[in-house]
Symmetry: C2
Subunit: 322 residues, 2 copies
Amino acid sequence: MKAIQYLSSEQPAVFHEVAEPLAAEGKVILEMLYSGLNHRDVWMTKGLYPNLKGGVTLGSDGVGTWEAKRYLVNPNVNWGEDALLPGDQYRILGMPDNGTFAEKILIGSDRLVEMPGHLSLQEAGGLSLAGLTAYRALINRCQLEAHERLCISGIGGGVALFALQFALARGAEVWVTSSSQDKIEKAISLGASGGYLYTEDSWHKSLNKLSGGFDVIIDSAGGLGFSQLVSMAKKGARIGIYGGSKGLIQDLSPQTIFWKHLSILGSTMGSDKDFREMVDFVAEHKIHPIIGSVYKVSDFQQGFQRMDYGAQFGKIVFDHRK
Amino acid sequence: MKAIQYLSSEQPAVFHEVAEPLAAEGKVILEMLYSGLNHRDVWMTKGLYPNLKGGVTLGSDGVGTWEAKRYLVNPNVNWGEDALLPGDQYRILGMPDNGTFAEKILIGSDRLVEMPGHLSLQEAGGLSLAGLTAYRALINRCQLEAHERLCISGIGGGVALFALQFALARGAEVWVTSSSQDKIEKAISLGASGGYLYTEDSWHKSLNKLSGGFDVIIDSAGGLGFSQLVSMAKKGARIGIYGGSKGLIQDLSPQTIFWKHLSILGSTMGSDKDFREMVDFVAEHKIHPIIGSVYKVSDFQQGFQRMDYGAQFGKIVFDHRK
């Protein structure tokens, strides 16, 4: 069978023939239908991830079949007993453990969650890791409530779009930021109340005035824009951080943080409990993940490049069917 | 009677004759015994506080007598119904409402809490605002637990010392930082496990190694040192911010915040519920506030100067007795 593997820094992503997995106790062999691409996979191919190991199949997301049923893959390996924090043995599927970018994968039966019936196979393929990250950050960490107003920075990526959909399903009002007016328009067509280009001068002052300020803010950039996001926080607001693509945070006012009783909450991935809750939430609210592009797995390089350029709006998924 | 009042920016703190308060419905006249000085009072005399109003008696802390019983003053005015967040009408006693630096004060009977019997009058005089701020930040916001390790930056001020005492009473392990070895030694004599001079190169790396890292960190400085404090946080740590004397926070790593699932929690003052809980906690654990110096109220300028120089270790209190 074929799989996308990391071999070395010279051959960081190779689609080649590998041995089929062998049955093992407590594990099942899942035949993959669709898998989803995450930034994590792209960063590995660029050497931007710690402890890379050669000969490992990449990929954290996916949907597959086992005994005629369809299952989502829970990307957690050994989160541990504490739902609030991962244990020291926690890993994400797809490095150093073999991941989902393969025809068949060997996986613990406790990692499989039945696919909600309203999802298409493509939608199911791109749900796992980004959905989990968004759910934990927004719902379990920031505790977004129905009557609240949310700002999502940098709309377009997988986690940001799930945050948009989850927040709307919960009944919250959602605003977005982007460097692309096209992405803002797309977000509005999905239900966002409005958006603003963070490339404009004093964008945060304009957006604060326009929206009335935010109860919850979700950010994966950090950098110089973070303190501008914080300036739009209402008293008692929660600000979730699930990434830091723009680097170190600067010029952050401690006075704003303590006078407004703000909470800045870091979050990454989520527990097995978060994962089950997220899938139940998606099923209950009949949420359809936004799929940006679909590639045959043999054309995976196009998907990696698309994500690297930041051009996508929605998940990039790979079709593993023959 | 005499009181310390803010008159104008030219006469920011004057000890002079004022009219005695007149009885009013729902209010009582409390005869002051001791009052406590806070940074807030000093900042007002330097024009560093918003919306200053002439002819207002300063002071937020104190203990006094009414109908032969001794009462602590709850410094909150109109916190509101929500214990988690102050309402829009929230004020702290001592600007724009007349405060505690007077022979007698007119105050709502619901603002009085019976003085725990183990306290001396001096100790009781310096408890209210700093005790409230420390209790809410450390216990109700950061949720410090008995088995955890706490770092308190800048030991010596009122809130930091209450945080030290409350944490020890809860059974936690406490470390401190300071620019003064003398203050560190004093903190150790009070029960701290150790301390480190933040004026030393790479002090945070040394303290992290020495202590093993922190579950909770409490800071009122911000500035360049904040991200060094954060670097010592353990996975799942809570970092409480209750001040920002060193200005804007710089070079804060979003990666550290999300990978470690950190919570950075702003807090200032506390609710009426926090105040009652704090006084109960002080009574239950027989905590004796650390008093740094005592001045006759007529010598208040010495107290203001001492706080301004940052020389104090413990609360500065004023004796209002004839």
